[in-house]
């Protein structure tokens, strides 16, 4: 059924406005299975909004999403799409998300956080959910912290638990929304390391980030967003080393202004 390289998630003519401000001005994007896409852009470029529209945490103003060849939602007036709640829940169960602020459930232990999705959304038996959750915690290097509440974990550890929580749903697409932006600099490495390790699985991932160096090594494809449009789309080598657009060049220069 699923062949590596076929399109898993497609975004068509996506628009998003907040009040009178149009943040996304028509995004078309085909994500192929196994691709690792890094989304770059300055703040306000719409990169986080794009990611949040892909699992409809943000309701697109216009356009549609196609997951595994099936359009999500029903067309409505003005090019908008109407979504039923059950349909959104199914979509979100298949498109995982890791947040900038981790958003772990503070009243649950690390293990319970990871178990929650399989247990209450996928309806897995408790013993099985516990086993796989433990395995996912070990995968992110936190097998020994299963019984710790989030308040007892460092930011980096919390984010790794959040990654394990998303992985436990075995999503077809995994979205990372600036996963290291709220971490102390010395904790960034451990989280990026975990994300990098996930490459082995061949899982489809989209990552909004400011870590250009990581994006270069991790991604198979880089998008550069500017003022709500995709300005650049290509392999890391090309986008980061010989960008087509002046805007992209200026953006990259700001990151490479100081070197030693």
């Amino acid at each position: 059924m699923t062949v590596a390289g076929d399109v898993v998630l497609q975004v068509e003519d996506l628009h998003k406005s907040f009040g009178s401000t149009e943040v996304l001005k028509g995004i078309d994007l085909s994500v192929r299975r196994g691709e690792r896409i890094a989304i770059l852009g300055s703040s306000g470029s719409g990169k986080s909004t794009l990611l949040r529209c892909m699992n409809v945490l943000e309701m697109p103003t216009r356009g549609r999403l196609i997951l595994d060849g099936e359009a999500v939602g029903k067309p409505a007036a003005g090019g908008a799409t109407r979504y039923r709640e059950a349909e959104l829940n199914r979509l979100r169960a298949r498109v995982g998300m890791v947040f900038q602020q981790f958003n772990l459930f503070p009243h649950m232990t690390a293990l319970e956080n990871v178990m929650e999705g399989p247990l209450s959304v996928l309806g897995r038996p408790k013993a099985e959910a516990r086993r796989t959750a433990q395995r996912h915690l070990e995968r992110v290097g936190l097998g020994g912290k299963a019984d710790a509440h989030p308040a007892r974990l460092s930011g980096g550890q919390q984010q790794r638990v959040a990654i394990a929580r998303a992985l436990a749903m075995d999503p077809e697409v995994l979205l990372f929304d600036e996963p290291t932006s709220s971490l102390d600099p010395e904790l960034v490495g451990e989280v990026l390391g975990v994300i990098n390790d996930l490459s082995e699985d061949g899982r489809t991932m989209l990552l909004v980030t400011h870590e250009l160096g990581f994006a270069y090594h991790f991604a198979t494809r880089i998008l550069f967003l500017h003022e709500g449009r995709i300005l650049e789309d290509g392999p890391p080598e090309q986008v980061l080393k010989s960008p087509r657009e002046e805007r992209t060049r200026r953006f990259l220069d700001r990151f490479t202004a100081f070197r030693f």
């Binding site: 709640e85 995982g96 459930f105 929650e116």
Partner: protein, 223 residues
Amino acid sequence: MGYVWDFFAVARNADILLAGLGQTLLLSVCGIAVGVAIGGVLAAMRLSGRRTLSWPALAFTEFYRNTPPLVHFFWFFYGLPMAFGLTLPPFAAALAALGVQSAAFFAEVFRGGILSVETGQWEAGRALGMGRVRLMRRIILPQAARRMAAPFVERSFELVKTTTLAAALAFHETIYSAMVIVTQTYRPLEVYTVVAGLFFVVLFSASQIAEWLEARGRRAGAR
């Protein structure tokens, strides 16, 4: 010539007073139950995001928050028979007034607790594919409950004190019993001092228990 205190007048009628206190507690417990049930519905209506539901709930809440409770007691006791030919016994009328009035306050406690949970928690639950009900039950309410605890206890204490208004409906709670004793003994100062003491003992012990429970909840949450 100093006042000569005589608490024996109260002691001789302790049975009347304690029976009244029993009725006060009964009315309080029932009032909290009714208030919580209706308050829960009101809070759900306010949070539904649908105007047809949230506006009536808002109007209801604001009305009861901004009118004197004694009027509500009179309406249910004297007003219902006149307007609808429906006569309620004092306990039922007091319970209805108390329940409906406190529902408005409990609704605000629930709503405040739920709104205090960070949006990131809602998003994390949704991102896992959780439906509205499951998200509420598994993620939001357990966190909101802890933050509701203190204001909930506060409102419940207010409710216990408001039950004294039922005396105006000739319901035999503590104040009414006190008035009965006063007419027999002419010792209002002693009787009402003892009433204040009784309320203090009941509510102060309740607050100690509530504090202990809250501290235990906090410890469980931070483990």
